[in-house]
Amino acid sequence: MKLETEIWLFVAVVGLSMLCWLLWLIKMKPEKSATATAIGIGLTFSIGLLFTILIPSFNKNWSPNTADQEARYHAVDKVENGVLWRQWPDGTQFQATDSGHPNGNITMDAPDGTIVGYTPLEQYGRHVYQREGCMYCHTQQVRPLYGDEMRFSVGASLALPADEREYVFDQPHFLGTRRIGPDLSREGGKYSDDWHYSHFFSPRQMVPGSIMPAFTWLFDKDADGNPIPSKDVRALVAYVQTLGYGRLVYEPATYPTTGGWGPWLRPADQQLYQKKGTEQVERAVQPIHGHDQLSNTNKVLSPSN
């Protein structure tokens, strides 16, 4: 059954029940008033749920599609001479830095712009972000407004506004509602890892006047009593560094503008999607690992550097 048919069927069923309920209400005896109220409460609820949750959830841009996941399986992570590389099926490869984040404007995503999921370290970092409640003070959505695009720009480029496809691998979402601190969705690569470690340890030394809490409990101590980043904060920084242009897919020109319930598949995705039938899908490498060298780089850190 086509999606449209299903939805209209649902609308017809709920609408008819609503009509029957209204007719019944008119002829009803007072004894039945509690039942009628309960039925009406359920009906009004179902209608709202249908239009605001169920119908939008069919939007293909809201969840990873087959193309995204295939691309993830085809990526090869390898370590050569202590340097992490990620290679794509077409031969493109690039170097990642020691915490596995995109260096500068290099993207961790597939060359055709397909978004890939997080590495285990980055996913761990997301959980630390969640546990420490970063999303209560930092949004992750740049609005299509002059103020936002300018304020969160990188270098001379405007920050591109938030795109639906940026969030497909996010569970939970970190869109946020309050900017006590700045938006973070274009933050990756703006500062070095060391800057982030120092800032987490002592925010007011790095940014005078900041009201961010000092997350001292995310740091271990070395033999001399100097704070060194723990696994938690390393993962956190690795995650924060992914929040940049690397995650951005914004090709408005390539979106089909008409047809169906919306412009869901981009041409690049459609090609990969069509290829699926003929191509044997196999996982070239377990995409997970390659960041193990992290544990060997215990840089000594003090708040002053």
Partner: protein
């Protein structure tokens, strides 16, 4: 006047004089009052940390991002809903003309609920470095509680639903008064909303509800917490307590009918207005804006009804502290419901979204309106539950003025500061940290306002505690009327 005369209901059967036990109401009442003091204190610490960021900074479990959800969630699920439960246990048997289905089940409900709240708060404050997704905060606003405590709270709510549903089924008055619809709406909608908000993203197959689906459900749930849980519950109580406290019949039953059904049909559609200019489809944002404006229909029918009920009775505000709380709550309800739709406009949202303005708006609904209604309900029902006069009328007056003036200071500071910061954000040449520093004076005012409100809460808890424990002769209904300030009516 008896219940049926005030509510203008013709009872089909004249019920016998009932002797309500109210044990379940007492349990829920004390749980909620305890949580009010606890989570109110956390709220003030949250406010202090804005101006002194290093306040208690050595304790990770007292860090700002951990106590903030503990305060927000605790005030809604620890204070407001148990207080609603206590009031429902009081109101529903009296409006249905029958005894509560089971007092013991009511006690068990409070115990299950309190275990859930304590569990959730513990794991919010101290996740013990655990990254177990079942125990860790869900990381979504209003859905912060972990999955294990969700189960406790849902089971507790179903127990309440069973208890009150059976009371409804045994009612002696066949026709249901408006307050009962709202209470039934609160009971059912809370169960639906809680299940949908806390379930899919956790338990459905991987990839099913991630990213923007997760966000959309989050805001459907977040807005429904206010619109379909706090609002029908609070309005239901106001529909009972305003006519009772003013000793006047309800202005219009037709209006209450329109208000209830439009509330139910419209509120569900509003969640997406939390993501105006966000990454969600344009049509969904527009739908949310339109339905936010449609909310004027239920709001104005409720406001007209409450103010209409007070026609010729306004003089009672002079010395009736219950009515003071109720009318202040109604005025704040009007204000918050004018503010809300305006905030959903794209032009307004572009400036005030992500600022403190929203925080002020949320507090006006949950503190300004529904918490004040709950205070009023407690001051009205506790003397009747214990059959003793209120311990101190003056202390209740102090509580009212501390809450009222403290809240005016609190919210005005947030609105002005938030709006100012929003305007500053439109100018990219102002560094972000400068916009933060510029709001600081308003954060001082907010912290002071919060402390005033908290002082009022402590007075409230002390007053109720003394009412329950100080030995006093059992009072008659006439004496209790003196206790809630309506002696003019009682002696007339």
């Amino acid at each position: 006047m008896a219940v049926d005369q005030i509510m203008k209901i013709q009872p089909s059967v004249q019920p016998e004089r009932l002797n309500h036990e109210d044990v379940a109401a007492k349990w829920a009442l004390w749980a909620s009052v305890g949580y009010l003091c606890m989570f109110g204190t956390l709220g003030v610490i949250t406010a202090i940390k804005f101006v002194i960021p290093d306040f208690f900074s050595n304790y990770d479990w007292l860090s700002w991002p951990r106590i903030r959800p503990a305060h927000v969630q605790g005030m809604i699920f620890g204070w407001l809903l148990p207080m609603y439960m206590a009031q429902f246990y009081y109101v529903v048997p009296r409006l249905t003309g029958t005894k509560l289905y089971s007092e013991k089940l009511g006690i068990a409900t409070t115990i299950v609920w309190s275990i859930g709240i304590a569990w959730a708060t513990f794991f919010l404050l101290d996740p013990a470095n655990s990254l177990n997704p079942w125990l860790m905060t869900k990381g979504k606003e209003y859905e912060d509680y972990d999955t294990v405590s969700n189960i406790f709270l849902f089971v507790g709510w179903v127990m309440l639903l069973w208890n009150l549903g059976n009371t409804f089924a045994r009612r002696k008055y066949k026709q249901m008064y408006a307050a009962l619809w709202y209470i039934m709406g609160c009971l059912l909608w809370t169960a639906f909303v809680y299940l949908i908000g806390n379930w899919p993203s956790q338990l459905l197959p991987q990839y099913a509800f991630r990213g923007l689906n997760d966000a959309n459900i989050n805001w459907f749930y977040g807005h429904s917490i206010v619109g379909l849980i706090a609002t029908p519950g609070g309005l239901g109580l106001a529909y009972y307590f305003i006519p009772k406290a003013a000793n006047a019949p309800l202005y219009s039953h037709k209006l209450s009918l329109i208000g209830f059904w439009t509330l139910g049909a419209i509120y569900i559609w509003n969640g997406a207005h939390h993501m105006i200019y966000g990454p969600i489809p344009y049509w969904l944002q527009t739908v949310a804006t339109i339905f936010s404006f449609l909310l004027f229909i239920p709001v104005f029918s409720v406001i007209t009804n409450f103010f209409g009920t007070m026609r010729g009775e306004w003089h009672q505000l002079r010395n009736n502290v219950v009515l003071k709380f109720l009318m202040a709550g109604t005025v704040f309800y009007l204000l918050t419901c004018i503010q809300g739709p305006l905030q959903a406009l794209r032009a307004m949202s572009a400036v005030v979204h992500f600022t403190d303005y929203t925080i002020g708006h949320a507090h006006m609904a949950l503190f300004g309106t529904f918490t004040l209604y709950a205070f009023a309900g407690a001051y009205y029902s506790v003397p009747r539950i214990y059959r003793k006069p209120l311990y101190s009328e003056g202390m209740a007056e102090w509580h009212f003025w501390l809450s009222f003036l403290g809240f005016i200071l609190f919210s005005t500071a947030l609105w002005i500061g938030g709006f100012m910061q929003g305007i500053e954000w439109t100018d990219p040449s102002i560094p972000f940290i400068q916009t933060v520093r510029d709001v600081e004076p308003y954060w001082h005012a907010r912290a002071i306002g919060g402390m005033l409100m908290l002082t009022g809460m402590y007075l409230f808890a002390f007053n109720l505690y003394k009412t329950a424990t100080v030995p006093a002769p059992k009072a008659t209904e006439g004496q209790l009327n003196v206790a809630d300030g309506s002696e003019a009516v009682a002696t007339a």
